[in-house]
């Protein structure tokens, strides 16, 4: 038996190119449907868990899916903006707690999620290090974001301009990292959290500057004074680093209720309150939509599972095709090896031993393919996030 195994190994090693191609082809065809099935079933559970943990999401009329993906999973482009007044509108009903979400900007490729301190305990997020943001300009990082950005407490992350030459829009803001969250395995691991006011500063809707009302006329920044109104030129310094010395100068431009959000998470006090709250957003002329995330995600999962069935059917055809091709390869190889087999007979190898040798070769190839498929699966499961992030972006 050992001699058969040795002969089979030597043959496969001698024809390593052909062997490698066959092994990889079989491994891939084993790996793909299994990975797809695992990904969809495992992911669907997680997706529904997060959706179920978020009772209601309020946003502007538009794509419910876009709204849910942006506000729960911090992916996809921002939905149409709403105003902060929607937070007060929900709270005035006394039916729910409202948590604002403003997810529009990024830092180092990671989403900057503007919210308030109610978000962390509600999502059961815990700190691994540091503290939660106490002041504008401070942020906490999800576990993966902190690891990938290689930052520690006291380091800084800088928001990215939305466009390369964004002169009139958002100012990059250097935010101090004051905390790093424990890993939860959820989307929160891949985000940078800060106070909603900090994101408004990034958006150019709140800023700090020197006290222009006290500046001398020859200061260089004063265009003119009209009574109690001071007109300054564009050189009035707008900070992009917030620190103890300039923090108190920060102020919002305009009323807080007019400032933008991408969504409001509504946490009803009980199911009846949730139903009543939803009812308030069902008017025909309503400009907002109150979404139940589980409904949106279940609908999407239905589509996904149907797609998975098509993909599995396609995979089955691919398996059949690959196995046929592999059989053909073995059959052709057998014909090419006819003289070799004849030689083995002439030197005394019985026909059964020759068949055993060929079967062993096939078994080794299949075993190697299964092992490779397992390795693919392990690697895939470890790097699936990055692979999918690449697909998404």
């Amino acid at each position: 038996m050992i001699d058969i195994l040795q002969l089979a190994c030597k043959y496969l090693r001698f024809n390593w190119i052909k062997t490698s191609i066959v092994v990889v082809a079989i491994a891939l065809i084993l790996f793909l449907p299994a990975a797809l099935d695992l990904l969809v079933r495992h992911g669907a559970t997680s997706l529904l868990t997060r959706a179920a943990g978020t009772p209601l999401v309020l946003g502007a009329q538009g794509s419910p899916l876009e709204l849910v993906l942006n506000s729960l999973y911090f992916e996809t482009k921002p939905p149409p903006e709403i105003t902060y007044s929607e937070v007060a509108r929900i709270e005035q009903t006394s039916l729910a707690t409202a948590i604002p979400i403003y997810n529009r900007f990024r830092a180092g490729g990671w989403p900057i999620v503007g919210t308030n301190l109610d978000y962390y305990p509600w999502r059961s997020l815990e700190l691994a290090q540091g503290r939660y943001p106490l002041m504008i300009g401070e942020c906490v990082l999800g576990a993966d974001a902190a690891k990938e950005l290689s930052v520690q407490i006291g380091a800084h992350v800088i928001s990215s301009p939305e466009e390369l030459f964004d002169f009139a829009g958002s100012y990059p803001l250097r935010m101090e990292v004051v905390g790093i969250l424990k890993s939860t395995g959820a989307a929160d691991d891949r985000a940078i959290f800060t106070d909603i006011k900090t994101v408004w500063i990034i958006a150019g809707l709140a800023h700090g500057h020197e006290d222009v009302t006290q500046a001398p006329d020859d200061d260089g920044t004063i265009l003119r004074r009209e009574g109690s109104r001071t007109i300054t030129n564009a050189s009035t310094m707008t900070y992009n680093v917030i620190h103890a010395g300039n923090r108190a100068s920060y102020h919002l431009h305009g009323k807080i209720e007019d400032l933008p959000l991408t969504a409001v998470l509504a946490l009803p006090h009980d199911p009846r309150a949730g139903a009543l709250l939803r009812g308030k957003y069902l008017r025909a002329d309503e400009s907002m939509q109150m979404i139940v995330p589980t409904t949106v995600i279940e609908s999407l999962l239905g589509t996904m599972f149907r797609l998975r069935e098509y993909l599995l059917l396609g995979s089955a055809l691919a398996v059949f095709s690959t196995l046929s091709t592999t059989s053909l390869v073995f059959f052709l190889a057998l014909r090419l090896r006819q003289r070799e087999i004849e030689t083995m007979h002439r030197i005394g190898l019985p026909r059964t031993r020759v068949l055993g040798l060929l079967a062993t070769e096939i078994a080794i190839v299949i075993a190697a393919a299964v092992a490779l498929a397992l390795i693919f699966s392990i690697v895939f499961s470890r790097y699936v996030d990055l692979i999918m992030l690449e697909i998404l972006t």
Binding site: K197, S228, T303, M304
Partner: protein, 296 residues
């Protein structure tokens, strides 16, 4: 079909991104004893009276006027762990604009009477280039100096605490009595021109129909000559012999005012915790000082 494909791609990506945690949960349970933080002393006092021993009321130790406190991060850790945070509203405590506090814990004690806020005319305005002109700090914020508004603020605290046993009614009685005392005291001054050393008495002025104009003087800082001239100019159109101070002015200021025939009278807004007594004691002392004003 294209949108369908995008949706599916998004789903696959999101599925992979959310991982397998399942650590979703509802709001945390309320603690048995409520720890209440207040941004000024009147609110802290109201909470103490309403909550009694059922609440722990915290007013940070602040030197000077709490309205202009500039907390450092270490000062705020307690606020973040509070069961309730009492804020005054009307633009009081500008530091609230640049800190992160749990919104669900905030109790906006004056939101029920927003329409009664007093706008300060003449607040400095500025604009950036062609941007919209705006001003900062344009609302008067010492709302509690009108006892009727103070009662509304106390009612908001009472509603937020929702305690089975509340001291609100007793507090309301005391504030109504204070209102009557103040009304009686200021009736004596009806028509008299008054000057406030600082623009903090707007709600008092409106409640008791006072003929009052304000300076920007500090009791512990001798005014320069320009400020004295400003006072002289003001008296030409507003001939007042009474100047209200937030606290006892320097002896030198008082002497010079005396020489001008102006009485210095302390009316303490009591924004910070007094060294002695409590809110009502301070307000009653204010009433006594108003009553002791000598009129011609």
């Amino acid at each position: 079909m294209k949108a369908h494909s995008i949706n599916c791609f998004s789903l696959i990506a999101v599925i992979s991104l959310i991982g397998c945690s399942g650590r979703e949960s509802g709001p945390p349970a309320e603690a048995a004893q409520v720890k209440v933080y207040a941004v000024n002393y009147p609110l802290a006092y109201f909470a103490e009276r309403i909550g009694g021993g059922a609440v722990e009321v915290v007013l940070p130790e602040i030197e000077g006027d709490p309205a202009f406190w500039q907390p450092e991060p270490d000062d705020l850790t307690g606020f973040q762990g509070a069961g309730k945070i009492l804020v005054n509203g009307a633009g009081y405590a500008k530091w609230l604009d640049y800190v992160s506090l749990p919104q669900s814990k905030l109790v906006h004690t004056s939101s029920a009477f927003k329409n009664q806020y007093i706008e300060i005319s003449g607040a400095p305005m500025h604009s950036h280039g062609d941007g919209e002109a705006h001003a900062h700090g344009e609302l008067a914020f010492t709302t509690w100096l009108d006892p009727m508004l103070a009662i509304e603020q106390a009612a908001a605290i009472d509603a937020a605490l929702a305690l089975p046993e509340s001291g609100f009614e007793a507090l309301k009685s005391d504030l109504l009595a204070l209102d009557q005392s103040l009304a009686a005291a200021f009736t004596r001054l009806s028509g008299q021109a008054l000057i406030g050393s600082h623009p903090v008495y707007q709600y008092l002025q409106r409640r008791y129909d006072l003929n009052l104009r304000s300076l920007h003087w500090e009791p512990d800082m001798m005014p320069d000559e320009a400020m004295w001239q400003e006072l002289q100019a003001l008296r030409r159109t507003h001939p007042s012999k009474i100047l209200l101070w937030e606290s006892e002015p320097l002896a030198g200021i008082k002497a010079r005012l005396d020489a001008m025939g102006i009485q210095s009278v302390v009316f303490d807004p009591c924004g910070n915790r007094p060294e002695q007594g409590d809110y009502l004691a301070v307000m009653r002392a204010n009433v006594a000082r108003i009553e002791s004003i000598q009129l011609d």
